[in-house]
């Protein structure tokens, strides 16, 4: 999911499940799976129970990892002279700063035809990959938008030519 304000672009992964929904889903699966396993255990076939528990632990872990994606953010702030990229979760956030007039937006296609492209902002040998959690269409849209906002090393960003247009949300 992608949202752009005048000078701030925020990239966040799409999460169609709320935490409450995830907990409800997990408890629902646990209730059914453990009911089945407990009936077998009650009949004396207890080895079903640890396997059910193990599996539910993996499911819980998978849901947790996936839900934590929702905390991930990439915030690209474009100032008059520099571009700041902040990415990570609330606990772990990394910050990289580039000079606006040297920064380049680079969208490179992958070696393998079935892989996704890679979008990065970079300058002076440093680069920072962004938009990893986006679909290809969104990545292309983001690249297009960032090129408008940042421009290449040898060009004036479009935003300086037409300031008002950048106010529109990209998506």
């Amino acid at each position: 999911m992608l949202a752009v304000s005048r000078h701030v672009v925020e990239v966040r992964p799409n999460c169609s499940l709320s935490w409450r929904g995830a907990v409800a889903l997990y408890l629902w699966v646990c209730a059914i799976s453990l009911s089945i396993a407990l009936v077998f255990a009650w009949q004396g076939y207890w080895p079903v129970l640890p396997f059910a528990g193990l599996e539910l632990a993996v499911l819980g872990g998978a849901l947790w990892v996936s839900m934590r994606r929702g905390d991930y953010r990439e915030v690209i702030t474009i100032h008059d002279n520099h571009v700041i990229v902040e990415k990570g979760t609330k606990r772990q956030r990394q910050r990289i700063e580039f000079s606006l007039h040297w920064a380049r937006v680079n969208l490179r296609s992958a070696h393998a035809s079935s892989h996704s492209s890679r979008l990065a902002i970079g300058s002076h040998g440093r680069s920072c990959e962004i938009g990893h959690c986006l679909t290809e269409s969104e990545k292309l849209g983001l690249a297009r938008r960032l090129r408008e906002l940042i421009g290449g090393a040898d060009q004036t960003p479009a935003r300086w030519l037409n300031e008002d247009r950048t106010d529109n949300a990209h998506r």
Partner: protein
């Protein structure tokens, strides 16, 4: 999702190439491709075992193999086809298509996805290695009933361990699919806007999550009975061998639907495309799928009517089995109504889907016959059962997989396959699958037992016909390999939409889906 913050050299983060690309694959398309190739290889290995079986049954008497090896072949054929061919093929299709269909960049847990695939070659290498062990490979049937399975030689622990590994792979795949569908759908894609293939896979994944621990527990109890002195199923120690059948089929019947629900999903994508009409009764299809899934947990004992159940039990399981015909009928009628007055064309995917519809229904009807308790007393363990489940699994599940491959192949490769050869493949398959399995109804009704290498001469003619059908059906699958291979190598360029009537997010990306490129942001209608 990447947490990589900074790279001083861009190339450092590029995807690996060569063998590493596949070994460390996390891309859903690469993993989907690996699943599909793996399942094709196992399809041919399991098919070769079927050829051994049919060669031996070509005429009465023992010709080529001894009875012990024959039993190994029937057991291994089933294990290869169920766990190695059909299930991985559906997982492969899910890997390729589910993220594209829900507008997600990849599966929710790409590394676990890699692991769940790479467990499979290990599991099947272990299982196949048992062919060379003292005592040979498992020969007690894929159902692993004790005490017969306890007579397996050195292969026994390998069988149990490989089944555990297959189960682990399935569970991890299922969890990944559940999390992907629940948490990574594009904005606007509510549950009741998801393509039917996604819905059927979501329900299948829940079935896997609920059923697999039961299988794992069952085979573990076999192991502890054999090596650790327990007596779960050992009558000599106070256990009950019959309970294994209950435990096994509590897993086993949902497993049947695990192998057919995704097929329903594929057919539900294909028929509207080539009928150029929206799917009739979308909501009822979803509810029918969920109903079938629920019912699959309360019908297990119809596999064991002859063990001596109380009358109440027989009646319950008979009527609950009959109930499955209702939601299945809803599906069949919805597919037919979708085609009604449609602007139909019959390209290869539609031919396979149509073949599925017609022939799967035959398998469904013979299933209804088997669900009638008094009739089942006659049919049980005869070739009628073999005919029934092969009609469900070959022109059912396998035809749906082939339909799906032809349907999505242009999207995967960017090339159209050879339509003439595709149609030839369909007609050869459709004709000879019937030549193979239809006569088995007759020999079954006449009393020929299953899992035997020799038989009374009265069954000779139909067995010969069946074997000829099997040989030609098997050989015609080589044509499938050639068609797929030549399509991967080149051919007419496929358009973005590929099929005139195709709808859905997956058809809004170019063909091949190189960078899953959406020209515009995914829009869910």
């Amino acid at each position: 999702m990447s947490h990589t913050a900074e790279a001083h050299h861009d190339d450092h983060h590029d995807a690996p190439t060569g063998i590493k690309r596949w070994l460390f694959a996390t891309n859903h398309k690469d993993i989907g491709t690996m699943y599909l190739v793996f399942s094709l290889v196992l399809f041919f290995i399991g098919g070769a075992m079927a050829m051994v079986i049919r060669a031996e049954l070509f005429q009465p008497g023992l010709q080529f193999v001894d009875p012990g090896f024959f039993n190994q072949m029937t057991t291994m054929h089933a294990l290869m086809m169920i766990f190695g061919a059909v299930m991985p093929a559906f997982v492969g299709l899910a890997n390729w298509m589910v993220p594209l269909m829900v507008g997600a960049p990849d599966m929710a847990l790409p590394r676990m996805n890699n692991w769940s695939f790479w467990i499979l070659p290990v599991a099947f290498s272990l299982l196949l290695s048992t062919l060379f062990m003292p005592g040979g490979s498992p020969a007690g049937g894929w159902t692993m009933y004790p005490p017969l399975v306890m007579q397996t030689g050195d292969a026994f622990p390998f069988l149990i361990f490989s089944v555990h590994l297959m189960g682990m792979s399935s569970i991890m795949g299922a969890i990944n699919i559940v999390v992907t569908i629940m948490n990574m759908r594009a904005p606007g894609m509510s549950l009741l806007k998801m393509p039917l293939f996604v819905w059927t896979w979501l329900i299948t994944a829940y079935l896997l999550i609920l059923a697999m621990p039961v299988l794992a527990g069952a085979v573990t109890m076999l192991l502890t009975d054999e090596y650790f002195g327990t007596s779960f199923f050992n009558a000599g120690g106070g256990g009950d061998p019959l309970m294994f059948q209950h435990v096994f089929w509590f897993f086993g019947h949902p497993e049947v639907y695990i192998m057919i629900l995704p097929a329903f999903g594929i057919v539900s994508q294909i028929i509207p495309t080539f009928a150029r009409k929206p799917l009739f009764g979308y909501d009822s299809m979803v509810y029918a799928t969920a109903s079938i899934a629920f019912l699959s947990f309360i019908v297990w004992a119809h596999h064991m009517f002859t063990v001596g159940m109380p009358l109440a039990g027989q009646l319950f399981f008979m009527f609950s089995t009959m109930l499955i015909a209702v939601p299945t009928g809803v599906k069949v009628f919805n597919w037919m109504t979708t085609m009604w007055k449609g602007s139909m064309t019959f390209e290869t995917p539609m031919l396979f889907a149509f073949g599925f519809l017609f022939l799967f229904t035959i398998g469904g009807f013979s299933g209804l016959m088997l669900g009638i308790t008094p009739a089942d007393f006659q049919y049980h363990d005869t070739y009628f059962v073999v005919a029934h489940f092969h009609y469900v699994l070959v022109p059912g599940a396998v035809f749906a997989i082939m339909a799906g491959v032809y349907f999505w192949l242009p999207k995967w490769t960017g090339h159209m396959y050879n339509e003439k050869l595709g149609k030839l493949h369909f007609w050869l398959s459709a004709i000879f699958v019937n030549v193979t399995f239809f006569p088995q109804h007759f020999v079954g009704l006449a009393g020929m037992p299953r899992r035997i290498p020799d038989y009374a001469t009265q069954f000779a003619d139909f067995n010969m016909i069946s074997s000829i059908g099997a040989f030609v059906f098997g050989a015609s699958q080589l044509l499938f390999v050639y068609i797929v291979w030549s399509c991967v190598r080149g051919g007419e360029k496929a358009t973005q939409q590929v099929w005139e009537g195709a709808e859905g997010l997956e058809w809004t990306v170019p063909s091949p889906a190189p960078h899953h490129t959406f020209e515009v942001a995914p829009e869910v209608k």
